[in-house]
Symmetry: C2
């Protein structure tokens, strides 16, 4: 039972007889022995860990249905391959994150990175390409991108609420979205426009708002006297509902509102929303990265279709007075 034999046995490699292998594994089990991750990392030149750097303020994260579901999906993929996740939260802004990537990469702490919140001309691309670390994007890159990516079918989710509102009898549907410089916001707005055309209803106004401008933007949106608004997130929808109530409007009596993400917030607030499976997305992204690392099979990612979840925030339009 030399060290080499143990290594073969533990790593399920040929070179030991079945009996010896079993004897070794039994001994290991009995002693509670496991190969030292550090020693393996040194000899194998890989750490069995992937990195995720989040550059968002806590306030933004903790209302976000995406983040945690995505994380739990990552967890599923990683634990199957006995990989670990190195998570680093840094203050908002991709620029602040660059040193974090650089450090983790240069010290060889991770075998690869998962990138989310991809921006236009993302500065991380150059840094990470130069570092020569495997990278996988969770989300569609804008413009040139040296890395592979996976994406959900979230944009398709805009069709459901619009069609639903049209069926209820609404003839004009507005859009309320987040910051226009996010790719996913742009795409959703585009899909809203298509859906409005397809449904044969009138295209209402489209309003964008950053997190700290939601209330004001909602009030502006309401001046156009909409009867139906599809929102790009549940948070926006809740802000809109609140603004409507303050204006004396009944939801859904006077105004129908739909959210997006189907976060717990939507369930709590009785919001019709669109459910996108972000856990599945995280699993696919981590799986694809592992495949790139040669650790797992490339998973065939068939993103499931977004699902419209009906609740109490949508109803037929008010009858004309």
């Amino acid at each position: 039972m030399s060290a080499a034999a143990v290594s073969f046995a533990v790593n399920d490699r040929p070179g030991v007889s079945p009996e010896t292998r079993e004897r070794i594994l039994a001994a290991a089990r009995e002693l509670g022995w496991r190969p030292s991750a550090s020693a393996r990392a040194l000899t194998e030149a890989r750490t069995r860990a992937i990195g995720l750097v989040l550059a968002r303020d806590a306030a933004q994260l903790d209302v976000d249905a995406f983040f945690v579901r995505f994380l739990s999906g990552i967890g599923r993929a990683l634990s199957a391959a006995d990989y670990a996740l190195l998570l680093q939260l840094v203050p908002e802004g991709a620029a602040a994150a660059l040193p974090a990537y650089e450090r983790l990469a240069a010290a060889g702490r991770v075998d690869g990175f998962l990138l989310t919140d991809v921006e236009v001309d993302d500065p991380r691309f150059a840094v990470l390409e130069a570092a020569g670390v495997p990278v996988l994007l969770a989300g569609r890159p804008v413009g040139e991108c040296p890395f592979a990516w996976v994406e959900t079918r979230h944009e398709e989710g805009m069709a459901g609420p619009v069609a639903h509102l049209a069926r209820l009898g609404h003839t004009r549907v507005c859009f309320f979205g987040g910051r226009a410089d996010f790719e996913h916001v742009q795409v959703r707005r585009e899909r809203w426009r298509n859906a409005v055309d397809d449904a044969g209803v009138e295209e209402g106004v489209a309003v964008h708002a950053a997190d700290d401008e939601m209330a004001e933007a909602a009030r502006v949106l309401l001046t156009s006297e909409p009867t139906a608004v599809v929102c790009g997130s549940d948070v926006l929808a809740v802000a809109l509902v609140r603004a409507a109530r303050e204006r004396g409007l009944d939801v859904p009596g006077d105004l129908s509102v739909t959210g997006f993400d189907d976060s717990p917030l939507a369930a709590l607030s009785g919001l019709t929303s669109v459910r996108v499976d972000y856990a599945e997305f995280g699993e696919a992204a981590a799986g694809a990265l592992l495949a790139e690392l040669g650790v797992a099979e490339a998973p065939a990612f068939e993103p499931s279709a977004p699902e419209l979840v009906l609740r109490a925030s949508t109803a037929p339009p008010p009858s004309r007075g």
Copy 2:
């Protein structure tokens, strides 16, 4: 410039002249060289990483103000010491988490663990004590516990809303909390009782509800015709507000409701709530663990007092009809 000299220079240890040190560091900077984390881990017998295993369902996490703020606090403490966070999400239930702890500990992937969501007779204590890994609890243990812990002053936060409601003229204040077998829920309930006494108002009913029973429990609570309810979380408060509205009650006209945590949910819903600084808590917990690892000074944790955040869900009681 032998390897040994480089090691001394990089680790800021005596044994090299200032000039040589500077020359080495300059060369390292120029080459973009950093010591390999794996090699260091092997020789130093520490990984410069701590572990956090979360055994919660995603659905519970992503509405939870605690988790993400706590994480960002951990991040602050760790990055100062150049430590990393190994995060693992496992399905709900502490039992499912045990193998995860065991694996990380046996493989020596982390230098210590941070424990949250501490339960009565927590099975993790025995496993981790046997493993001989440094551990620090974020939260107050119930009963015997071999590890050090830090805690916030969250319970004090119950006094604020009760006193506020009393000042507004309410004469009876109810309590609506989460599962009674959580330590923090118990403590908050106790403090509500004290606060009610102190304020000289009547102690209303106390109702507990798990996440999937909130709506029903809220309806039950409302049968006692309360005018004021303090809740143990924002989520509960929102559920209560919703149930009240369905019953035709106006909040805050007919019923005053306060939340807890001051999550984004509270801001969105205009909920009077109690803000506890969980980021500070995370930083203190991680800092204390690092101190136990001999990596940092033991931080003097002075938890800040919870702060009552007034919003539109509280008002004087309805005048008697």
